[in-house]
Subunit: 258 residues, 4 copies
């Protein structure tokens, strides 16, 4: 009998120029998968390269984490834009990261939208499908990582690859939509670990106390939370104690340098 | 006996959001090859896609035109940065354009640095080699287009692909270095055509009146010159009258949509 | 009996770096009042100075035209932000323009919000009042120019100075709200002049054909419309033919260089 | 007999959006004077307002700290630009901060250029004079704070106000020019305090061991150094132990809220 597997992902590479955010070095000891910012909401070419090298060194799967073009708002503001604009914002950033990754012999494993862009994609089957389809031209076979929603069912129905995921460090409303904080605050690592385990087993408790399905294959902890490293450590410990093997959903795509 | 060939390239996609620069539609009737801005000195995702579609429709070879990250200075200011930074700025932009191009079934044919970044690469054999080598990881076989210089000889000595080019619409100093204008002004199309023909034949007249070798395979006219279209038309006419066949150096890489 | 007066305003200084938008030089022959972009949606320090000098030379009243921080979207996208953020965005830009204006001996005559920021202020009495009040700390006595709305009545009730205005080159819905175009197109100058005259007389015809009150003291033509100069000329001609004297509402604040 | 006075200044408000840099709250317990970033190299409207409030609350004099428009390079890259551009970059930022300060009843006490912009002004008597003169139009009587150099002598000769200052936490070359670090690292607080005391007494030891005049009235510690607070505390302690009274050079301009 095979042990169940689960992926543990976190946003990474979210520094910018002189400003540092998150402790990727420490975080990468616990997670399986890094979502690397691509310059629109955070990240810059040097930061992106550093994150890719760090991921390769730590054996962490590396994917793209594109956001809205809004450094000031860190991609957490819903920028009015057409679906076509959103597709192009994502392709631009995914391509940019892939360009740098190619010189580090890192193959990108997934694409996870960031912040307000993630929220929009989760709410729109049309947009989610357009994004997932366009990604196949740039990175064939690479899945779009987002929440298990009607939008995801639409993408799956088209035969396009996805990784269902959600954030273990956020609360959920009665519709199963996570409640975004303007700025992440420190949280109790064990409470997050509780929720992560629930999610790994396919459900989540909402703010009303109801237990609803949440069929994810990947759980997220936010790398810019002040105690992100302690949270990631607690989540990993809890999942392993419960018998889960932590591994990236698409780790096969992650080439190690020879 | 085969007719001699020459490439005619121009910068394109240099609009940004609400602002339009150049008349790509008209220009593409005369040039063989477009260097498409990638968002750092000009261009944005929607503009990049429009330029790629226009190039494909017009049968014009499409390459990347990366610049310094300086919208305000249009990439014409030499931004102090390390060689490593420059390589990453270029990979980021080339990857970004390639990401959008992949969804339009356009294969990028070349990479031509823009403005002050071009000047820097022409002056540094080490940087030129580093850039040309890193490009092979992202776009195998795709040449770096820049001026025939000691830097280019260094790149060629490493077996890396190049396209020697220079601008027909600029003056040249006694060392064969073109004299950059802060903002391009209208110029006499026939005078530019004269110089283009000289360059197609392998030489150029400097501001001192000396004739020096300029062994290019591609000549450039700047798309943001007010009368760029008239200049491109005059250059094309002159080159064809003199028996040259105008074609992109790397047109084979340019796939048409099926 | 005194002739009735009306102000004719237009956005100006909306170039950015290498990119030119609008023909301020020509436009300033017809308008009384320029709203100068301040760097967030358009404009840069050199462009702002040039617009201020041009306004002074042409005897045109110069005010600030602050927008959302979104160059890519030209301030025409509603950026989610708090009221406090909006107040600070405006103070930042107004102060910046005033800083440059001080060295040109130009006193700013008004502040007119741009694009999506204008729309938001017209819809919120609280925000309109907060903006108008905060402006009094920076530029005492200087009015906030926006549409005659419930928001404006709230500002006026607080004893804060305003200039009621609206755009003569836009259509109006049944609620008297102008219908913004994503990108302004050329329009029939005489049709705009018809509407300008109606507005100068205190009413406007909606898209439904109803005539509703529109008690403005200033009418606007958009400087980035392709035929903006022809429109401004036609509007001026029509207003003057109908007996209006064109003059800036707050022209007294506009000092001429000694 | 009056105790000698000295000013202790630090850069502040150098966060940007989601990114925090420096601990202004703690730093303001030790310094007399804050140089507040104005949005070009760091800072944004909300951060600027927060820094102004913090300065007022702590009784710290608040001035402007304008830099080159280069968020990615944190204003530490020498951006090629004309003197006229530099003047406008500074006026724009000073005006922007003054605009927000006016609503907090804070009067700006000085202007200190940042990073590469500071270096350039220290090397150019013409530019330093042009900047200092233009400031008088915006903030009459407000001094330009920079290093005691030939450029400063030129400004003083014009009768324009200055505050001679230099950094106690940097090394000095044989010409008395401080040696800028790309990114500030932690330093021994007592060693910095040694140098601060030397400088308060009018001299500094160069990297060659020579002691040269350094007639400053203000010493700086960089707020983005990892142990900036410990350094500021040590410097203050040392200066006070040696009998200096710490006070802002232009504290009279700093109004407290009534």
């Amino acid at each position: 009998m095979t042990a169940p597997t689960i992926e543990l992902n976190a946003d990474a590479g979210e520094s910018f120029g002189r400003w540092t955010l998150g402790d990727d070095e420490a975080l990468f000891r616990y997670i399986t998968t890094a979502n690397i910012a691509c310059g629109y909401h955070a990240g810059d070419p040097a930061t992106m390269r550093a994150a890719l090298i760090r991921a390769r060194t730590a054996g962490v799967a590396a994917g793209a984490h594109p956001g809205y073009p809004d450094l000031l708002g860190f991609g957490r503001r819903a920028l009015p834009s057409t679906d076509a604009d959103v597709v192009d914002y994502i392709l631009y950033q995914v391509g940019a990261l892939a360009g740098i990754a190619a010189t580090e012999d890192v193959t990108l494993t997934h694409v996870k939208p960031h912040g307000a862009l993630m929220g929009r994609i989760c709410r729109s089957p049309e947009l989610a499908t357009a994004v997932a389809r366009s990604l196949q031209s740039v990175l064939p076979g690479v899945p779009l990582m987002f929440a298990p929603t009607a939008a995801m069912r639409a993408v799956t129905a088209e035969g396009l690859p996805v990784i269902p995921e959600n954030a273990a460090d956020l609360e959920f409303d009665q519709d199963g939509v996570n409640i975004v904080e303007p700025v992440p605050r420190a949280k109790d690592p064990e409470a997050v670990a509780d929720r992560a385990l629930d999610m790994a087993r396919g459900s989540v408790r909402t703010v009303d106390g109801a237990v609803i399905p949440m069929p994810v294959r990947s759980v997220c902890v936010h790398g810019d939370r002040p105690n992100a490293v302690a949270i990631a450590a607690a989540v990993r410990r809890r999942l392993e104690s419960a018998g889960f093997v932590l591994s990236a959903c698409n780790s096969s795509a992650h080439k190690q340098a020879p």
